[in-house]
C-alpha cells in the first residue's frame, strides 16, 4: 500500500490543480512572460522585467494561498485529524500537496516561453525559478502560520497583507530613508543586516548579482557586493534564504502541532 504522505499529497495536489485560481495564476504568468519575450527583447531585459513581477506578485499570491488554504480547510482538517494520522504526518501531507503546485507554477510558466523564445542563458532562468520557488515556499508557509495563529479569516488575510506590504513596499522606503538620512555614517553593516532580514530583497539582489546590473542593485545589493563580491555575495544571499525557508515552515508546523481544532 502507498504511504499516507503520498496519499495526502496526491489528494491535495488534485484539489489544487482543479482550482481556477491556480490555473489563472499559472496562465497569467505564462502569458506575461511570452509577451515580454515577444516585445521586450533579450533574456537579460526580460529577467529584469519579470523580476519585479516575481518579487511583488509571487509572495502575495503565496501568502494568500497559504491563509485561504488553511482557513477554508479547517473543518476538513478536523475530519482528517479524526483518522488514524499523526499531526505531523497530516501537516506535511497537507502543506506539501498545497505548496507543490505553487512552487512549480512560476518556473513552468516562465520556463516554457523561455524555452521557446530565449533558448539560452539557462543560469538566469535557474536563478529566477529558484527565487520564485523560495518566495512561494516562504509565502505559503507564512500564510499557513498566520491562518493557524488567527482563526478569523479576514484578520489572518490582513496580517498577511501587512507582512507583504512591509517586505515589498515599507522596506524599500526605509532603506531609501536610511541611505539618505544616515549617509554620513558607516551604515554598510546595518544595510547588510536589513538585507538578510528581507527574503524579497535577498532574491532581488541574488538575481541582479548574476546579471552584473550594478545600477539596479540598490543600497543593500551594493553593500553586499562591496562586502563579499559577486560570487560570495550570491552564496551568502542563498544561505540567508535557506534560513528564511526554514523559519516560517517551523512556525507553521509548531502552530499546527499545538492547534486546538
Amino acid at each position: 500500500m502507498r504511504g499516507t504522505l503520498w496519499v495526502l499529497w496526491e489528494f491535495q495536489l488534485r484539489n489544487a490543480l482543479r482550482s481556477r485560481w491556480v490555473l489563472l495564476y499559472g496562465g497569467g504568468l505564462l502569458l506575461l512572460t511570452a509577451l515580454l519575450f515577444r516585445f521586450g527583447g533579450t533574456a537579460e531585459q526580460v529577467v529584469v522585467s519579470l523580476l519585479n513581477v516575481v518579487l511583488l506578485l509571487v509572495p502575495l499570491v503565496a501568502l494568500l494561498y497559504g491563509v485561504l488554504g488553511i482557513s477554508s480547510a479547517r473543518e476538513f482538517l478536523e475530519l482528517m485529524l479524526a483518522q488514524p494520522l499523526q499531526r505531523q504526518e497530516l501537516f506535511w501531507g497537507t502543506f506539501g500537496g498545497m505548496a507543490l503546485p505553487l512552487l512549480l507554477l512560476p518556473p513552468l510558466s516562465i520556463g516554457i516561453p523561455w524555452l521557446v523564445f530565449a533558448g539560452g542563458r539557462w543560469e538566469l532562468l535557474l536563478t529566477l525559478s529558484l527565487g520564485s520557488m523560495v518566495l512561494s515556499l516562504i509565502g505559503a508557509a507564512a500564510g499557513v502560520a498566520f491562518a493557524l495563529r488567527w482563526e478569523e479569516r479576514l484578520y489572518a488575510i490582513g496580517v498577511a497583507f501587512g507582512f507583504w506590504f512591509a517586505l515589498t513596499i515599507l522596506y524599500d522606503g526605509f532603506i531609501l530613508w536610511a541611505g539618505i538620512a544616515l549617509r554620513d555614517y558607516p551604515i554598510e553593516h546595518g544595510l547588510l543586516l536589513a538585507l538578510v532580514l528581507n527574503p524579497v530583497d535577498l532574491v532581488r539582489v541574488a538575481t541582479l548579482l548574476q546579471l552584473d546590473a550594478a545600477a539596479l542593485l540598490g543600497y543593500t545589493g551594493a553593500a553586499l557586493e562591496r562586502f563579499a563580491g559577486s560570487t560570495l555575495g550570491i552564496l551568502l544571499a542563498a544561505g540567508a534564504l535557506a534560513l528564511w525557508c526554514v523559519l516560517p515552515l517551523w512556525l507553521a508546523l509548531r502552530g499546527f502541532l499545538r492547534k486546538d481544532f
Binding site: 489528494f11 488514524p84 499531526r87
Partner: protein
C-alpha cells in the same frame, strides 16, 4: 471503554470544561446534552484529540489518547459542519479516507446505497447541498465499521428520510456492540438513539441518567418534558 478523568479546558478567559470525569462502557449509547456553549463539542473534540485538555486524562480502550493516533482506527466521527475540498468529488473523499484507514474492499457501497448517494458520487463537492455533504459525512463515519461512533449533531441538515436512514444504521451499529456518543439539539431523536444522557452546563456535568429513568421520574411521554422535569430537580 472511554474514560475521562478530571478533564479541564480553557480558551482564553473562558473555562469550557471544568473537571469532567466520565466513564462510557463498551456498547453503551450516550447523548451529551446542554445549552449552546456548554462544552459539548469541545468534550467530543477532546475525545478525538482534536483539542488538547489543559489537565486530566482521556483513555480509549485503556490507551491514553496523546500517545498515538492509532486509537482513532476504532472511531468513526461525524463533525457538526462537514466540509470537504470543493474541487474534489465525493468518491475521491471516500477513497482518501479508505486509503488512510487501509480499507480496500468496497465497504462504502451499502451505505452509499442506503443514503442514495450513487448519483452524487462523481459531482464536485461544491455542487453538493449541505444535506448531501452530511450524508457523505455519515458514510465516512460508518464505512470502517468502527467500534466507537462520535457524532456531533448527526441529524442536523438531513431530510427526514436520510435522518431515518441514519438512525436505522446507528441502531444496527449498536446491535453489533458499537459504543455511541453523540450531541444533539433534536430531543425527539434521543429515546430512539441512546439509553443514557449526560447534561452539561458551563463545562460541568449537571447529571447523568438513563433515558427510561428520566421518563419514569417525570411521568411524561415526551423526552423534552422529562428533561425539563429533571433539570428543575437539579
Amino acid at each position: 471503554m472511554i474514560e475521562l478523568t478530571n478533564v479541564t479546558k480553557r480558551f482564553g478567559a473562558t473555562e469550557v470544561l471544568r473537571g469532567i470525569s466520565l466513564s462510557i462502557a463498551p456498547g453503551s449509547a450516550l447523548a451529551i446534552l446542554g445549552p449552546n456553549a456548554s462544552g459539548k463539542t469541545t468534550l467530543l473534540k477532546c475525545m478525538l484529540g482534536l483539542t488538547r485538555p489543559d489537565s486530566g486524562e482521556i483513555r480509549i480502550n485503556g490507551t491514553p489518547i496523546g500517545a498515538s493516533a492509532e486509537y482513532r482506527r476504532w472511531i468513526g466521527y461525524m463533525p457538526q459542519h462537514p466540509h470537504f475540498p470543493e474541487n474534489l468529488r465525493a468518491a475521491e473523499v471516500i477513497e482518501l479516507v479508505k486509503q488512510i484507514r487501509g480499507l480496500s474492499a468496497p465497504v462504502e457501497a451499502p451505505y452509499i446505497e442506503q443514503f442514495r448517494l450513487t448519483s452524487e458520487l462523481h459531482k464536485p463537492i461544491r455542487a453538493l447541498s449541505g444535506g448531501t455533504r452530511q450524508k457523505l459525512s455519515a458514510v465516512l463515519a460508518l464505512m470502517s465499521s468502527p467500534t466507537i461512533l462520535i457524532l456531533d449533531e448527526p441529524t442536523a441538515g438531513l431530510d427526514p428520510l436520510a435522518a431515518h436512514t441514519l438512525k436505522t444504521e446507528l441502531q444496527h451499529c449498536r446491535q453489533r456492540g458499537c459504543t455511541l456518543v453523540l450531541t444533539t439539539h433534536v430531543l425527539n431523536d434521543i429515546p430512539e438513539l441512546v439509553t443514557e444522557v449526560v447534561f452539561l452546563l458551563e463545562g460541568r456535568i449537571v447529571f447523568r441518567e438513563s433515558v427510561p429513568q428520566l421518563f419514569a421520574e417525570s411521568n411524561s411521554r415526551h423526552f423534552s418534558e422529562a428533561l425539563v422535569h429533571r433539570l428543575q430537580r437539579s
